[in-house]
């Protein structure tokens, strides 16, 4: 498992709807804020890149020191973003695909308002389990 990893889901209206620190490293308060900052800064790059390819997995699109930002854009332009320090591209791709499927299940729930925060604790548990499995 990667020592540092931060995962967020950003809705198509640029609002973060899910956030999780999934690395095994000791949690530091200011590190979490720095991670958010790096991920949000990468959104501009994503916006341009998303229209140049029809693939959902955009691979590594940005880096900050030894941290890399990988992004997965869904059909509805919801962005799954992962900040990581590992070099395991296949694992990351599988992670994104499985979380994408979970996201679709959440979205298909008629009581979930598209673009609103995902508060399901079940979703959180599953994402963290996937992170342990693939990252």
């Amino acid at each position: 498992m990667a020592s540092t990893a931060c995962f967020i889901i950003v809705s198509r209206n640029d609002i973060p709807i899910y956030e999780a620190e999934v690395g095994s490293a000791v949690k530091k308060e200011d590190a979490a804020q720095q991670h958010q900052f790096i991920l949000h800064a990468a959104l501009d790059v994503v916006q341009d890149l998303a229209w140049t390819t029809s693939a959902m997995f955009l691979k590594a699109i940005d880096r900050f020191n030894d941290l890399v930002v990988s992004v997965y854009v869904t059909a509805g332009h919801t962005r799954l973003m992962l900040l990581h320090d590992s070099r395991n591209e296949d694992g990351i791709k599988s992670f994104f695909q499985e979380v994408h499927e979970l996201y679709i299940k959440v979205l298909l729930n008629p009581l979930y308002l598209p673009g609103s925060r995902i508060t399901s604790s079940h979703f959180d548990t599953k994402v963290r389990a996937l992170a342990r499995k693939y990252l």
Binding site: A50, T74, A75, G76, I104, L107
Partner: protein
């Protein structure tokens, strides 16, 4: 409900595998549900435009979900980034899943560059509906227009979508045309992508 005893129970929707989408839904059941939707909304509003807007909003929620589901299930995780790609996705993939057939035609508007039309001789939602004279140009196809708008808007192609009856020669019933007018930014982006 059919087969309710056979379905495996899951404690949470996240545990349940995504549907393969092969089940068929009874037309009578759908028509009944849709008529309730129209009647309910009709009781809540005092003019036709508002009623159409409400039906469109109901469809929009369907469209936004259908796009995400179908791109994952039927398109193998490919997104549509081009105008014609997304239109043919609506015309064939979406139509097939929702109505069991591809739409009768997809045409480009002759007068304006940014207009496209999807026409259907007998739109499913209009099959059991006849509009009283005093309701003027009201069209229950607004629900389908909402679905189309939901798909296009979520995919990043904002558009104004409306449903119209178009009389056809030699036919008793008019056909339904879904008129799609794309926003300026969409055409600008298309031109840039070449």
């Amino acid at each position: 409900m059919i087969g309710v005893g056979k379905i495996k129970q899951y404690s949470n929707v996240l545990d349940k595998p995504l549907s393969k989408g092969k089940q068929e839904v009874s037309l009578s059941a759908f028509a009944f549900l849709f008529s309730e939707l129209v009647q309910y909304n009709q009781a809540q509003v005092d003019n036709i435009a508002e009623l159409e807007r409400r039906l469109e909003d109901a469809g929009y929620a369907v469209g936004a979900r259908v796009l995400e589901l179908l791109c994952h299930r039927d398109k193998g995780n490919r997104r549509e980034t081009r105008l014609l790609g997304i239109l043919s996705f609506v015309h064939s993939t979406v139509w097939k899943v929702l109505f069991g057939k591809v739409a009768d035609s997809l045409e480009k508007g002759t007068e304006h560059e940014d207009e496209y039309m999807i026409s259907e001789k007998e739109l499913l939602v209009n099959r059991f509906i006849s509009i009283p004279k005093d309701m003027g140009t009201f069209n229950c196809g607004a629900f389908v227009a909402g679905i189309v708008r939901g798909v296009l808007d979520s995919a990043g192609f904002p558009a104004v979508v409306t449903a119209h009856f178009v009389p056809m020669e030699g036919q008793q019933r008019p056909r339904t045309t879904i008129l799609i007018k794309f926003a300026e930014e969409v055409l600008r982006r298309e031109a840039r992508l070449g």
